[in-house]
Structures are given as structure tokens and as C-alpha cells.
């Protein structure tokens, strides 16, 4: 265990910074599609028609959920790769 801690402290800060950067990017997209396209920016997107309504409605009822799914899998894939790159994956 002690060995793990030293590893985490020494080369772990780069790992943690990379993780945080990934989280910021993912959460920015998360907020953009739901609060942005689905609610606040919906009037701006009203010109783009889709199936009898506008793009904002699609994002609010379907698009955001699909993007959420993509985000979680993207994050899991990137993080599991990051774990290996920094040598902190589980044995």
C-alpha cells in the first residue's frame, strides 16, 4: 500500500490533471446539450426543423440522452487508457 501512495503522489499529479481536464470537457458538453440546446439556446435553434418541430425539442427529449450515453462511454474508455498510460491501473 505504501508503495501505491508514493506512486500516486509522485507521478499521480499528471494523471489527476489529465483526469480533471477530461471531466471539464465532458461536463461542458453535458451542460451544452441539456441546459444549452434543450432549454436556454432552444430559441436560437428554432430555425432548424426536425420531424414537425425544432432541434431544441429533439435535444430536450432525445438528443441529450444520446449524448449523455456517448459521454459516459467516452470517459470510461479514455480513463481506462489513462490508467494504463500512467501505470495506475488495477493489477
Amino acid at each position: 500500500m505504501a508503495d501505491t501512495h508514493t506512486r500516486a503522489r509522485t507521478d499521480g499529479s499528471g494523471y489527476w490533471k489529465a483526469n480533471l481536464r477530461l471531466i471539464y470537457i465532458c461536463l461542458a458538453i453535458w451542460a451544452l446539450v441539456s441546459f444549452g440546446f434543450g432549454i436556454l439556446l432552444r430559441p436560437l435553434l428554432s430555425g432548424i426543423r426536425i420531424g414537425g418541430t425544432d432541434l431544441g425539442f429533439w435535444f430536450a427529449q432525445q438528443g441529450s440522452i444520446l449524448v449523455f450515453l456517448a459521454l459516459i462511454f467516452f470517459y470510461a474508455w479514455r480513463m481506462n487508457k489513462l490508467d494504463r498510460d500512467f501505470g495506475v491501473e488495477e493489477e
Binding site: 500500500m1 434543450g38 420531424g51 418541430t53 440522452i65 449523455f68 459516459i72 470510461a76 480513463m79
Partner: protein
């Protein structure tokens, strides 16, 4: 075979399956009871999480809310799914790495404070208990409608089934039962939706059907729906109230549901059951895949059911005469018996006039047609249950809906009961009352707490407080304002210390509860509220359902200020945070 026998057969078969699983998956250790021995495959765990998460409200009520509210109900769709992004990115992998059994245990260890742990236990018990009441009453309703037993008998049967697999198997039994329950509920939900989508749009995939053309007229389904509801004086289905106050409330409501979802303990503890940190990340994704199957179908079910209802009542178009009451279809007759559809012939013409009587702009048009008030009221909750009848599907589909509704209610109830009983046996009995309790003793204590929790939930289901429906806002508000911020700060900041965390949680808790009471009545007693729970009448211009997000922000602010002005976090706690942040060593942490 008549419908009743079919219902009995299908529901009976599903119950036999759950009990079989319970006997197969008995728990022998506390690790199995609390965390299924941490041996659950991430896909299986995702499925179990989905069943755990999707309650009677998701299965039965949500499509009805979407159908009658239209666009504003998107807050539920985004909120109840967007929370999984927060779980996957901010909580699940780190809490799995921490490797303990309960949410209060993390809060207690990270903030080196039994006071923090106790506050977390209190928040957990309030949030989970209010939630479980709805599941028990939902199960009672489903039993009484489909199996023609009294509400009480239905509740006892439901409680007995949950008792069997939850007390015997703990998390292990619950997990594998939930996998089966997920399959039952998703099949029951999607089959009628597929048929209805085919009938209306020719597209077999409901989420695509929603944005397709309506077969009879060839115009897009949603434009058609907007036209007919507006001609009856209702607000546009896809329309948005663009006033700043309404937009702000929708944002805060969505955010409250998201962080509330991520902070609900019965969902979080599901991620303790997977073998590795990497699995916790994948598992959150799989959970959302299985949840999205229902949540992407739901808006289609809602919109199509709304259109079906209008078309049923106005077979020759909304500008022509509505149908005569004597010619109403069978599903209206069937559901009238339950009192969930009501008809009152206000103008005495023997026809069913269905329109928005609350719209002053439409009053003149209605008067010109000789209408003297809306004559048909349809309860939100029947939409999903009546869907197979509306679409004239065979009897086995109706029986499947019954089994699906019960699966949704029982799976969520079991998850909540486990969260409550593990908080009592592990966080109260083991941590405070009797720290020297043996493994066997703790397992027995866990089983007894579970049995007591089921008894209390059943009692509450039999004697539901009049405010059962409103308490959902309370459950989400508390989870959002207390548990989520404490967990997030515990992982992402080493600066937040014990005083900061406790002050933050108490601020979030008190602010949120008081704000809800000010608008819903003190302890939900009608008439004791000081403010109207509307956009313009509320204290801060924020409705009580949306206040959890504000409580969470206050929690963060107070925690930071207090932590800055008190003694810093000790070194060994900083070490703990560092170790939680990296996956390596998760196996060692498990062995605790």
C-alpha cells in the same frame, strides 16, 4: 382464457422466478449482503441499476406527465438520465475504489467525523423512506387493478415477495432479482409502444416514430399533435414558455433532478458491487443504456397516447362533433370503473366534449359550440397501463404490463430498503452502538433491520401520509443538497475538512427542507404554507421542486468558507483522498 387468469399466470410466473433467484443467491457474508461480494459483471450491474432506478413513477407515471405537459416535462427526461453522467465522472469510480459498504461510511471516514456520518445517515433515511412509500402504494395499486385483490392484500403479497429475496439474499439476491425484473419491465414497456408507433407512423421504433409522419394525414406527427391540442385550447405540445422565470425554473429543476439522482444512496451503492474501478466506469454507461431504452421510448408513448386520445374522442377531426358517450370504446369503459377516467355530461348533449376549460382565450370558442365545461378527465397514471387496450393488443400484453409495473415498484423498493437497512446495521449499530459486533452478528443485524424496514414501509403503504406524492421533491432535494456535494467535495478537494462538510450538509439540509415546507406546508400539512408554489408566488421565484440545486450551491459555499477558517485536513486524510483518486490498489481496499 380470460384476462384475469392470464394476469394471474404471468404475474405468478414472474414471482416464481424472483423467489427461485432468491433461494439460489443467498448471502453468507456481510460482503455479499451489502455489496454482492463485489463479483457482479458491469453489464449485469448496469441492468440491475436500471431496475433499481426506474421506479413505479418512471414506469407508470412519466409517460402520462409527458403526454399532458409536453415540452416542459423534458426536465424529467434530461434530469433522470443526466445524473448518470455526474455519477460516472464524479462519484462511482472513486467510491468503488474507497471500497467500503455504505455512503455514510465514506462521508464519516473522509471527514474523520462521526457527526458527519450521522448527518449522512439521517439524510439517507429521510430521502429513502419518502421514496419507498411511493413504491409500496404503486405496487398496491397494480395488484388491485390487475389481480382484483384488495389494496391491502396486494401490499402484503408485495411485501412478502420483497422480504423473501431481500432478507435472504441482501444485495446479492436483490441484484440478480433486479436483472430479471429489468427484463420483465422493459419488454412490458416497449411492446405496446412498438405496436402503437407502427399503427400511427408505420415506424417500428418509437423514438423514430415520434419524429416521423402521421400515416393518416401524411404530416409530421408532432405538427399534427400541436394542431389538434391547440384547437382544443391546450398549450402547444412542443411549445416553450420563454419567460426568464420559467426558463430559470426549468434549468434549476433539471439540475436538481440530475444532482439528486447522482446523490441517491440506493443508486450509488450499486457501484460497490462490481469487481474493479474500471468496471464502475463501464457499469454507469451500461446502466444508462438500459435506462435510456425506457426513457427514449417514453416521450413517444406520451405523444402518441395524447394523439390517440384526441382522435378517439374526435373521430372526424377536432372541428367536428365529438363521439357520443354511448359509443365510447371499451378501454374508456374499463377504466371508468377504476375512477381514473371520469365523464360528466355538463351540457346534456350525450357527447364527450374534451377541451381546456381553464384557458380564457378559448372560452368564447367553446361557448359558440354549446360547450359548458370539459367533460372528460383522464388521470396521468392510466396512460401506460391502458396503452395495450387503446392499441387493441392481445390479452397477454396487458398481463405483461401488470407484471412490468410490479417489477418496477418491487425492484426499486428492494434497493431502497437495502440502503436503509445497511445504514442502520453498518453505520448505526456497528459504527456507534456495538463496534465489536461479529461478522455473523452484523449479518443478523442487517437482516433484522431489513425486516423492520419492510414492515415500516408496508405500514406506510397501508396508511400513506396524504402528502406521498409531494415527498418526491423532498427526496431529490435532500439528496441533491446534502449527499451529492459532500461526496463530491470529499473526492475533489483535500481542503474541505470535518467542520466544513458538516456545516455544508446542515446548511443544505435545513435550507432545502425549510424552503419546501414554506411552499408545501409545514410537514406537508395543507394550508400551513406561507408562499404559493408557483412561478410568481414563490419566495425566490423558484418552485419548491427546483430548490435542491440552490441548496447544493449553498452547501458548497458554506463548506468552503468554514473549511478555510478552521484547522486544515490532517495528512492521513489527504493520503486517503490521494489513494481514492487512483484505481491501483482497489483489491487491497476491498479486504477491509
Amino acid at each position: 382464457m380470460d384476462q384475469y387468469t392470464l394476469n394471474l399466470l404471468v404475474v405468478g410466473a414472474s414471482f416464481a422466478l424472483y423467489i427461485g433467484i432468491a433461494i439460489w443467491a443467498r448471502a453468507g457474508t456481510t460482503a455479499e449482503f451489502y455489496a454482492a461480494g463485489r463479483g457482479v459483471h458491469p453489464v449485469m450491474n448496469g441492468m440491475a441499476t436500471a431496475a433499481d432506478w426506474m421506479s413505479a413513477a418512471s414506469f407508470i407515471s412519466l409517460a402520462g406527465i409527458v403526454a399532458f405537459a409536453g415540452y416542459p416535462a423534458s426536465a424529467y427526461l434530461m434530469g433522470w438520465t443526466g445524473g448518470y453522467v455526474l455519477l460516472a465522472l464524479l462519484l462511482a469510480p472513486y467510491l468503488r475504489k474507497f471500497g467500503k459498504f455504505t455512503v455514510p461510511e465514506f462521508i464519516g471516514d473522509r471527514f474523520y467525523s462521526s457527526g458527519a456520518r450521522l448527518v449522512a445517515v439521517i439524510c439517507l433515511i429521510i430521502a429513502s423512506t419518502t421514496y419507498v412509500i411511493g413504491q409500496m402504494t404503486g405496487a398496491g395499486v397494480a395488484f388491485s387493478r390487475f389481480l382484483e385483490v384488495s389494496n391491502e392484500t396486494g401490499l402484503y403479497i408485495g411485501a412478502a415477495i420483497v422480504f423473501m429475496y431481500a432478507v435472504l439474499g441482501g444485495m446479492k439476491g436483490i441484484t440478480y432479482t433486479q436483472v430479471a425484473q429489468y427484463v420483465v419491465l422493459i419488454v412490458a414497456y416497449t411492446i405496446p409502444a412498438i405496436f402503437i408507433s407502427l399503427q400511427l407512423t408505420g415506424n417500428p421504433l418509437p423514438p423514430l416514430g415520434l419524429f416521423s409522419d402521421y400515416t393518416p394525414t401524411g404530416e409530421p406527427l408532432l405538427s399534427r399533435l400541436n394542431e389538434v391540442v391547440q384547437e382544443l385550447g391546450f398549450t402547444s405540445y412542443t411549445g416553450q414558455d420563454g419567460s426568464p422565470l420559467a426558463v430559470m425554473n426549468m434549468v434549476l429543476f433539471t439540475l436538481s433532478l440530475m444532482i439528486g439522482t447522482a446523490g441517491l444512496p440506493h443508486v450509488i451503492i450499486r457501484f460497490f458491487t462490481v469487481p474493479r474501478v474500471a468496471d464502475a466506469r463501464w457499469s454507469a454507461g451500461w446502466a444508462l443504456v438500459f435506462i435510456a431504452l425506457l426513457y427514449l421510448t417514453c416521450p413517444a408513448v406520451g405523444a402518441m397516447a395524447r394523439l390517440n386520445i384526441v382522435d378517439t374522442i374526435y373521430p372526424n377531426g377536432v372541428s367536428a362533433e365529438p363521439i357520443a358517450y354511448d359509443e365510447r370504446p371499451d378501454w374508456i369503459r374499463n377504466w371508468e370503473v377504476t375512477g381514473l377516467i371520469n365523464y360528466e355530461d355538463k351540457n346534456g348533449d350525450g357527447r364527450i366534449e374534451y377541451y381546456n376549460e381553464a384557458n380564457p382565450a378559448f372560452a368564447e370558442a367553446a361557448a359558440a359550440r354549446g360547450w359548458e365545461g370539459n367533460e372528460l378527465t383522464v388521470n396521468n397514471d392510466i396512460l401506460v397501463l391502458a396503452n395495450p387496450e387503446i392499441a387493441q393488443l392481445p390479452g397477454w400484453v396487458i398481463a405483461l404490463i401488470a407484471a412490468g409495473g410490479l417489477a418496477a415498484a418491487l425492484s426499486t423498493a428492494a434497493g431502497l430498503l437495502l440502503a436503509i437497512s445497511s445504514a442502520v446495521s453498518h453505520d448505526l449499530i456497528k459504527a456507534s452502538i456495538n463496534p465489536n459486533i461479529s461478522e455473523k452478528g452484523e449479518l443478523l443485524a442487517a437482516r433484522i433491520s431489513m425486516a423492520v424496514a419492510i414492515a415500516v414501509a408496508t405500514w406506510l403503504g397501508l396508511n400513506p401520509p396524504g402528502f406521498a406524492a409531494q415527498t418526491v421533491a423532498l427526496a431529490f432535494g435532500i439528496a441533491a443538497a446534502t449527499i451529492f456535494p459532500a461526496l463530491m467535495m470529499g473526492i475533489f478537494s483535500t481542503r474541505i475538512n470535518n467542520s466544513g462538510a458538516v456545516a455544508g450538509m446542515l446548511t443544505g439540509l435545513i435550507f432545502t427542507v425549510v424552503y419546501i415546507f414554506l411552499h408545501k406546508g409545514w410537514f406537508f400539512i395543507p394550508g400551513t404554507n406561507q408562499f404559493e408554489d408557483t412561478l410568481t408566488g414563490s419566495l425566490l421565484g423558484i418552485q419548491s421542486t427546483a430548490i435542491g440545486a440552490v441548496g447544493a450551491i449553498l452547501n458548497f459555499i458554506v463548506a468552503f468558507i468554514v473549511a478555510r477558517s478552521t484547522s486544515p485536513t490532517p495528512e492521513h486524510i489527504k493520503e486517503l483522498v490521494e489513494s481514492v483518486r487512483v484505481p491501483r490498489g482497489a483489491g487491497a481496499a476491498t479486504a477491509h
